[in-house]
């Protein structure tokens, strides 16, 4: 029998191939425990995964990345267990709530920010997002905001400064000038900024760039969002990996 460390290393190469890992896990009781860590390293929230977690709470130790697809049915459950995912590094949330769930979702999201392992956050299709909750996200280093807009009624505090201090910021399909004013508070140590399909007026980002002018080393600009470019990008992902 190979040492457990070697088996674990071999399984790590199968990460992403859930079928193979599940087959391995059935070969020996020891394999089952070792494979679990890799089977649940990246999870997409759905009813099936939630049921598995309810039945086997120890699985909460395994996810490193969690993805929540649009209008995710088990939203309430999965948001409530995120603070117990001790090794979660990356959280992706896309169009999360149905009508009436907004406040509940935002409160749960705020709780997630207490998690020291959570470094990367991707938020997509969030309407009237109160950005003050991001001010408390002191562990987040990589933030992506796609198709989000700000709750304009929320005043931007002048002090104290935000606890959120980013390495990487990505704006995609964001056309909200308010959002930029919030972001100025988070970027004094920013090294990478990506602006994708944002606006025709780059001057709108002048204040943001000024705020990170002494730290920014990489800037990516993606222009012209139309069907053609989207198709091109898909082809890069799927045809030319």
């Amino acid at each position: 029998m190979l040492p457990a460390e070697l088996i674990d290393l071999i399984f790590s190469f199968l990460q992403g191939n859930t079928l193979a890992l599940k087959a391995c896990s059935k070969a020996h009781p020891l394999f089952s425990r070792l494979a679990e860590r890799h089977i649940y390293a990246h999870i997409v929230s759905n009813s099936h995964v939630c049921q598995e977690i309810i039945e086997n709470p120890h699985l909460l130790n395994y996810p490193r990345t969690l993805e929540m697809r649009p209008r995710n049915p088990p939203l309430k459950f999965i948001m409530s267990v995120i603070p117990r995912m001790a090794n979660l590094v990356s959280l992706r949330i896309d169009d999360p709530y149905l009508f009436g769930q907004r406040l509940e979702f935002l409160s749960a999201l705020k709780n997630c920010f207490q998690q020291s392992s959570l470094q990367s956050l991707y938020l997509s299709h969030l309407d009237r997002l109160p950005f003050s909750i991001l001010d408390d996200a002191k562990y987040i280093k990589h933030l992506t905001l796609s198709n989000c807009n700000v709750d304009e009624d929320e005043p931007i505090p002048s002090s104290p400064s935000s606890q959120l201090s980013l390495d990487t910021l990505v704006f995609s399909n964001v056309h909200d000038e308010h959002l930029q004013r919030w972001a100025v508070r988070w970027v004094t140590r920013l090294t990478l900024l990506e602006l994708c399909y944002v606006t025709n007026d780059w001057k709108m980002f002048f204040e943001l760039l000024k705020a990170c002018s002494n730290s920014l080393t990489r800037l990516h600009l993606e222009m012209h969002d139309n069907g053609m470019l989207s198709l091109y990008r898909l082809s890069q992902i799927y045809l030319c990996p």
Binding site: W202, K210, R218, H220, L221, H224, S235
Partner: protein, 128 residues
């Protein structure tokens, strides 16, 4: 957005004192952009080392692209790093979308003597 609007970036790049890498992905449509503007923008950046241009050609824009005076890239100035910024130029077209290994857009640019001179000098890397 037409890449011609890139001139606005010269306001921005000049204030980014540590910027080492600039990458731009854009669609190229006929007559909407000019090389001197890009060069001017790059020259405003104090310590830029790498520029990545990913250009996707639609319709006949490759013809326009191939006719440009690429020798103008010789005008990239040595900046505070003591070097010229290095340019990675990716060109794709409609055939690339379908995953074809043959890229006529890249081929058209490879016939351009000025750009191949720059490739030989190591200032430009052409990919498709």
């Amino acid at each position: 957005m037409p890449i011609g609007y890139i001139t606005e970036l010269s306001y921005i790049l000049s204030i980014l004192m540590c910027l080492e890498r600039l990458s731009i992905t854009a669609l190229v449509t006929e007559g909407e952009w000019t090389l001197p503007e890009i060069i001017r923008v790059i020259n405003t950046s104090p310590v830029l080392q790498n520029v990545v241009l990913r250009l996707h050609c639609v319709s006949d824009s490759i013809t326009h692209l191939a006719r440009l005076d690429w020798s103008l890239l010789d005008h990239l100035e040595i900046n505070a790093t003591g070097k010229h910024p290095h340019l990675d130029l990716y060109v794709t077209g409609k055939d690339s979308i379908l995953g074809s290994t043959f890229c006529p857009e890249g081929n058209a640019l490879a016939k351009n003597e000025a750009i191949m001179d720059l490739v030989k000098q190591g200032l430009v890397v052409l990919r498709c």
